[in-house]
Each structure stands twice: as structure tokens, then as C-alpha cells.
Symmetry: C2
Subunit: 190 residues, 2 copies
């Protein structure tokens, strides 16, 4: 999607260690007007899929998911990150490994917030190794919810996450697909 690619070229900052910083418009500062335009694209792609809930993970997914929920007119649920994977009777819980931080945490949702009647769109900012999306898919499977698909703002296709998630049978739509990225060479989109 040109709109997203142009914004990443303009305001994204590439750093050593395969880091793309988009905090000025997508993460810690959220350009709500711009994200609203991107939300229309997800709506165009998924409007006939009968979605009744959007699921994401804290923290950077929450704002994006809420803006995307507006054209769909559906609620958002976010998985909370917890240090321990304490599976009680009250919650669904899945372990998520962060390659960025070298840590593990649990993604947790109260059972009352997700169930077999839900048709879920997963929203997240980045798809690289896919750990967050794998965790959200696990939560949906535990709840018996139907996963309609995933909407991702930036996918790094040179990492395996997208391939793996699609191999699980989940439709993935990414607004920008990065084929390669380096401080020296810049970004190449697919």
C-alpha cells in the first residue's frame, strides 16, 4: 500500500540490529488521522467477513486496533502481558517470546471476553517472527473463536513469521511488506 510505504520512507528510522522505528506515527505517537485512512483499507479487505471483534496485544496494538474497529463498528479486546503464565480457570493464556527483549511473557484474556460466537480480526503493528500473532491465535483456539484473519501494518517478509502464520491457515493482510532493510541500503518493499 503506497500510503503506508511512503510514510515509512518519510518518518521511519532504520537502526542497527534490524530495528525500524516508527514511533513518531504508529507507536508511541499515533497519527490518528493517518491510521484512520489505513483502517479503511483493512475494512475494504475484511468488510464481508462477518467480523464481530478485533483482538490485539498491549501496548502498541491497542490504539491501532481501536481506530481500525471504528469502520467495522465492533469492540476491541487486548491481551494483557503478564510475567507468569498462570492459567487459572478465569483466563485464556499463551506464552509469547520476545526476540527484541529476549524475554518470555504470557498473553492473557479473561474468558468472558472471547468465545465460540466470536469472529475475530487480529490487528498488530509489526509481523516479523510472528510470536505475538501466534499467541493471539492460540488464545482464539482456546476460546473456540473463529479467526477471520490478521491485519498487519508492517510485515518483514525476510523473517519467517508471515509464512508460518499463513501456513496455519490464517489469512494475513499487510499494508507494507519489507523485503530487505539496512542502515546502508534503506528499505526495499515488495
Amino acid at each position: 500500500m503506497k500510503l503506508m510505504e511512503e510514510r515509512i520512507r518519510k518518518d521511519g528510522i532504520i537502526e542497527d540490529g534490524d530495528v525500524l522505528k516508527v514511533g513518531m506515527f504508529l507507536n508511541q505517537q499515533i497519527d490518528v488521522c493517518f491510521i484512520s485512512e489505513l483502517a479503511k483499507e483493512f475494512y475494504r479487505l475484511y468488510k464481508d467477513a462477518g467480523i464481530n471483534k478485533i483482538l490485539t496485544i498491549e501496548a502498541s496494538g491497542i490504539g491501532l486496533a481501536c481506530i481500525c474497529a471504528i469502520p467495522f463498528d465492533v469492540p476491541v479486546v487486548f491481551a494483557k502481558k503478564s510475567k507468569s503464565n498462570n492459567m487459572t480457570g478465569e483466563v485464556y493464556s499463551s506464552n509469547v517470546h520476545s526476540f527484541t527483549h529476549g524475554t518470555d511473557h504470557a498473553a492473557v484474556i479473561p474468558k468472558a471476553m472471547l468465545g465460540p460466537n466470536d469472529r475475530v480480526l487480529l490487528i498488530d503493528d509489526f509481523l516479523a517472527r510472528g510470536q505475538a500473532l501466534h499467541g493471539l491465535i492460540d488464545l482464539c483456539e482456546q476460546a473456540g473463536a473463529t479467526i477471520v484473519g490478521a491485519g498487519v501494518f508492517v510485515e518483514k517478509t525476510y523473517q519467517k513469521g508471515g509464512e508460518e502464520i499463513r501456513a496455519r491457515g490464517v489469512r494475513v493482510e499487510s499494508l507494507a511488506k519489507i523485503k530487505s532493510m539496512s542502515v546502508e541500503e534503506g528499505i526495499v518493499f515488495i
Copy 2:
């Protein structure tokens, strides 16, 4: 505001220890359509105040702030919670005490995201002892930003936060004001 009070009566759960759980529509599950209606009220109250940025704190404030930003057509910035108050040259940082969790953390914003040209609306879900809002006000003062006011979804007026914030000269608008609350007696709104 009747709309908010009715929803709290319908879906809020009072628990021992002065806890009001609104996770089914305001926090972990966000009723985006409902919050969009509440956002119109904040817009009515603040539309002539020249706001150009909305500021909140992770995690529960992010979704609400993004939905509220839509009628104002302004970006959202959220303060990240960090374990340590490491004030580097790159960020503004303020200590925030959580009475709920009995812990301290730093609220942190990169300097590039807040400055003297900003006219800021603070958004948060709850105002009780006011620690989060005090922290956000400190960040604005460090940045030289103008605080136009605060928009709060639920204020517990029997705690001192609202009084203190107003005594600092900050306009506070709360959609629901709780005068008293207990498991036995229920909620009394002002």
C-alpha cells in the same frame, strides 16, 4: 453524564477494596462504538480550546485516547511505563506511584513527541488519587507544553485526586463522578 452512569450501573462490578471493574467496556474490552459517543462529549467541552495533541499513559488510556482523538483530528502520544526513572537527555520522565499495585514506575515520553507548541488534552480512564494525571502534568511542564485540560471517564470524588489537580489550575471534565461506592450500597453518582 447519564450515558456513562447508566453503563457503569449496567456493566460495572464493585469489588472489595474500593475496586470498580469496568473491563468489559472501558478497559481490556473496549466498546469502541460506545466510547465514540463519549468522545463527542469531550469534543463538545473542549472543541474551542485549540487542542493539537492528546496525551495519555499506557496501557488502558491508549485506546480511549485514540477514539477521543478522532473528532479533534489530532495525534495521540502515550507515556510509557518504565521500571526506573532514568532521565536521559532524550526523554521527559516523571515518577508515578500506583496505590493499586503498591509500586512506583516512571512515565516516559521522548522529547521529540512533546514541546512548547503543543496544546494538550490529557485523557485517562480513572481519576482517584490522581497519580497518573500528576505525572502527565509534570511531563507537560517539563516540555513547556500548554495543558488545556483533562478528560476523565470516571472520577471518584471521595478521593483527593480531582481536587488536587484542579488546585494546580488544570480544568478537569469527568463523564461520571462517583460520590460513594460499596459492595453493599452500590454506587452513588454526583
